[in-house]
Symmetry: C2
Subunit: 405 residues, 2 copies
């Protein structure tokens, strides 16, 4: 009988994990690697900086020659040359000498510090200094950021903007990353129509899953194509079969046809293998998953909120790990603003608005109420072994933002 | 003299705020509106659901007819029709009658509840029920999510995946959003070369800002083009002048030419107006900003970490607000793992690794050490009125993730 035996959330998640696939590797220009995941270790080809580098506009000199200099006790040095950024000077700085130097230019031999321009005056030949600097001051030492030959980033690192800079400095103009999974989202439901401002035919409903599930999957690093199927076994089978050849992951929404149980699961059963159907969670109990042609198929509800929550519980981690990126729910503790009942044996993901201290569940929680998801910024998670919480109890919360790619 | 008088962070931020621009509006297909910002209120064209809708596969019936039914005391009803999703049935349900109904189909007149299929058996004509339902059960009432004519989202709302669904349900297939700002990033520095695995010429340094600043600006919703300029006034002027015509915001990195102070600021001064140059912050003191041809110009340091931090302090909020999106640093409190000295009169943004309890600053903090940014996930902020903190003090922290678009 339909959904009469429910899997526990943990068992269902385990079945997904056991069928985890990892994407192939591709090499992309570094400029396109932002927010991808490294599929190779980054070994530095260069020191960075490649030489002792001036960190200021000013004068390269021997720190010892400045000792004792002050506004009331200026000292004078001789200017012997000038080095612009990108230029190289092979002069050696001797006692009492200084060289005009730009930020980013190499410190010439003999010099060990840079005195900022603003603490000096000069006539082009004679330099008067009004401040002292210690050796090493305003110098970025060779290799202080990166040592040539060193592993500076590991495979499976997520490339943020700062990693982009580090990879560039290491000498990589292209980088190996995991391919993005291609997701085929198959929308089923004879009742669904496109958004329109015109009056809608009797018994028809606007399709919102098309928009939400595409966007949430893109928020997990995937590339999403959409197709539609009628509610019959044959139509769904054709779409799933086609998708299983050309895509890495298949997702469906809806697909419950009259008197037939869940036609989408029947298709999965026919073409491949059902991993589970029906999990003790709320919302989202009718979730299913299976394997067709070695590709994971997630069968989400037609109810918009159930579908989004099911995605979060099952598909997000799968998509992250496909791309070599680790993923765990980042659970934080908050104080319950309201009492929350729950049922033993079922894991609840309750839409909530939480701040740095409190969590308050959104009151209207039907699994079709998209607005409840819009009003929320987090889930309160109630474990299957808990019967709910009282106001003031400390409860587990996951912020939506912490789930994003 | 160069940077001799520093603005306070608050004064500099205020000058940016006073010159805040907001982008024009464009209408985009809803499918492209994810992560954009609404430039119109969304007024629902429809009720959602548009009718009392079955939330389950099962039988539409009168709840009262099921009262008392149980496994040991089954009741029988007469099946009078079937409604698939997308179909409409104008039969009226009378006492003792039921209609086969699919999830998503409209509840027929007379019925007020749906009994799930799994609690029944039937021979196609006679229905045996083993459970009772209360009126309203398994029915999503008309307009429970959205009422026609109601304002369901306000201008300036950020469109997440859940908002996508709500906008679709309200009947919008396209939506007005703020345009994305076009940013021209001008890289200056004669010493800079592209990433390469080959040996690099003496005195040359790989350009990493090109990668980090482009990526960080994209993380703020902008579209970024890059150009390069030599370190001369003329070359920089040509690029800035051109960019001020075709772009919404200009950003520069580097640009300190020998003995000339900051050539980029000289250009801004020549073409327009300098708002400030030099702010009492660390890292990033030499930050400047100005207006050229009514466009904001941010002049960032050549030092990679200084440039990223300057972006966070000044440009992020500006780009968010350009797109109609509110932005404030989300500051949270953590316990200091280590002692942190600071200087009165200067605001410090200290790269740190923080978790749910502690914040620990990254030890190697030179403004050229990109790796310090890679090792960090947050800033510890030390106000200009504080002289630093002791281990165990409660300090202010901002997570990098909370700054993203």
């Amino acid at each position: 009988m339909f959904l009469s035996k429910l899997d526990s959330l943990n068992d269902a998640v385990k079945l997904i994990d056991e069928n985890q696939k990892v994407m192939d590797i591709e090499e992309v220009p570094l400029a396109e690697a932002h927010k991808r995941v490294l599929a190779e270790d980054i070994i530095a080809y260069h020191n960075s900086p490649p030489f002792d580098k001036s960190a200021m506009d000013g004068f390269a000199l021997r720190g010892v020659d400045t000792f004792g200099a002050s506004q009331s006790n200026p000292k004078t040095l001789k200017i012997v040359d000038a080095i612009g950024a990108g230029d190289f000077c092979d002069k050696v700085i001797n006692e009492g000498e200084a060289i005009v130097i730009a930020t980013g230019a190499p410190i010439p031999e003999g010099a060990d510090a840079v005195l900022m321009k603003e603490y000096t005056t000069d006539d082009g030949e004679e330099l008067t200094i009004y401040s002292q600097v210690t050796p090493g001051e305003n110098v970025s030492p060779k290799a202080e950021d990166i040592k040539k030959g060193e592993k500076i980033l590991s495979k499976n690192t997520f490339i943020r903007y700062s990693e982009m800079g580090l990879i560039a400095s290491a000498g990589y103009d292209s980088v190996k990353v995991f391919k993005k999974p291609k997701v085929k989202l198959i929308i089923t439901g004879n009742e669904l129509v496109e958004p329109t401002k015109e009056e809608i035919d009797k018994a028809k409903i606007i399709n919102s899953n098309k928009y939400t599930i595409k966007a949430i999957a893109e928020d997990s690093g995937a590339v999403v194509s959409i197709s539609h199927a009628g509610d019959t076994f044959e139509e769904v089978k054709e779409e799933v079969e086609k998708a299983s050849k050309d895509y890495d992951v298949i997702m469906t929404t809806g697909g419950t046809a009259i008197s037939k149980g869940d036609v989408v699961l029947d298709v999965v059963d026919d073409l491949g293998e059902i991993l589970f159907h029906g999990v003790a969670i709320r919302p989202g109990k009718p979730i299913g998953a299976g394997i067709v042609n070695d590709k994971m198929v997630f069968t989400f509800s037609g109810q918009p909120v159930a579908a989004m929550s099911q995605f979060d519980m099952f598909a997000r981690k799968y998509l992250f790990k496909m791309q070599g990126r680790d993923f765990d729910w980042h659970i934080v503790q908050r104080e319950a603003k309201l009492k929350i009942p729950s049922q033993l044996g079922r894991t609840d993901f309750i839409r909530a608005f939480s701040d740095d201290t409190y969590a308050r569940h959104v009151l209207n929680r039907g699994s079709g109420i998209i607005r409840s998801m819009v009003e929320a910024n987090s889930y309160i998670i109630i474990d299957e072994n808990d019967e709910g919480y009282q106001k003031g109890d400390i409860i587990n919360v996951v912020f939506f933002d912490s789930l994003l790619w």
